[in-house]
Amino acid sequence: MSDPHASHSESTEAQEHIAHRLAHPVPLWLLLTVFGMLMILTGLTVAATWIDIGMWNIWLALLIAVVKGGLVAIYFMHLRWDSPFNGIILVTSLFFVALFVGSVVLDSREYKVNYNPPVRSGTIQP
């Protein structure tokens, strides 16, 4: 948090002075660059389905999604210039979702016997 508002310090009026502490307009070129990268990454995630890398396809897709989501959160949602608390809340919620999903998926393996054949009534012959 050095001083992201330095570029706006040329304003001298009192009203501008208050605003200058409050507002931090993200530069236009930066928003457009992030937008372009998001579009490119969207194309990339579609193109990633054309190659077959087995189980890594979903992890590649998720990696691209995480990068895209990070761009949205950091630049569009202003986290880069915000108080770190906002980012901590985001990361914490993601951590708890990961904990939730991870533990449930871990547990779901324990019920394999209920889901694999043979459990077809009427088709099992002695």
């Binding site: 995630t45 630049y75 569009f76 809340i89």
Partner: protein, 349 residues
Amino acid sequence: MSDATAQIPAPYDGHTHDHPHDPHLAHHFDTPAQQYASAKLGMWVFLGTEILMFGGLFCAYAVYRHNHPEVFSFAHRALSPLLGGINTAVLITSSLTMALAVRYSQLGRRVPLMVCLALTIIGGAGFMVIKSIEYHTKWEHNLFPGQYNVYNADFKGDERPPNDLAALEHASATDHAGVNITPEQPEKEGSNAPHGGEASPTFAGVIQTPHESPAAPATAPTTAAAPRYVDPLAGTGDEPKIKPSFADIQGLSQGQQAAQTAHAHLTYSELPPLDQERVNAFFSVYFMMTGLHGIHVLVGMALITWILIRASRNEFSANYFTPVDLVGLYWHLVDLIWIFLFPLLYLIH
């Protein structure tokens, strides 16, 4: 001081007036910057609960996909990656216009702010229009969530589950031409015909829609009492043994093995029977995730409309733009969630 207390409402009593009074500053905050930071922190806490709420659905997705990967590989073909990709682009673009709106509100430029808000609303509306086209395609073919899904074992309708979903995404275009969207599958070397083949020859999925051409029903199955699920292994001597096979030890179901050996997509009749019973779970997950997301899009559009009305009344300035910023955060979160939904639902390899 007495005239000041007469003009200013009670909560502002005791407010020091050594700087220009900010009508937006509540008395329990020291500075507008502190108030703004607090508002943003509160919004982020709310967004955190939103992520946790969607986390439950992502958890359901993970469990179903983990247990039935071949179901997802089969059923996701009912979704159109083209429409999903267009919607992704639409939503990302609306996210850009929302970020621009926040920027213009911070710069105190009212007209560009209103233009960007209007563009964002249009983007959200475009997203919902495309989404409703997708939903309509599903509904035409009884691909509803829950027990109204054609794949559900309790489905009461007379339609049969499509054997291959790949053509569904083009269904809307071809239905009007009377083209049967799911050509009858040629019968596979008898392995799908257990019990003397009493059911299997008529099992290839044919979708009947009310406005289909008269020619199509000729190929439609007529045996209403045919067994719903056909065990591809029954009667072939390959019934599962009591002793686990090597594949069982590996934890692979038949569908997983088939998906690993052949890159070709499985058709419905090639799915293991227990997976056939769970195809409808994909559509439940799909509708719940995209439905909850769609509700968020609608809520976001309503909020942006409210912001647009307030902007038209010139309520925002470089000193006060918190509502624009917070609604923007909400809209970006909706975009962020879709960024994950799109590859997880539409782009299953």
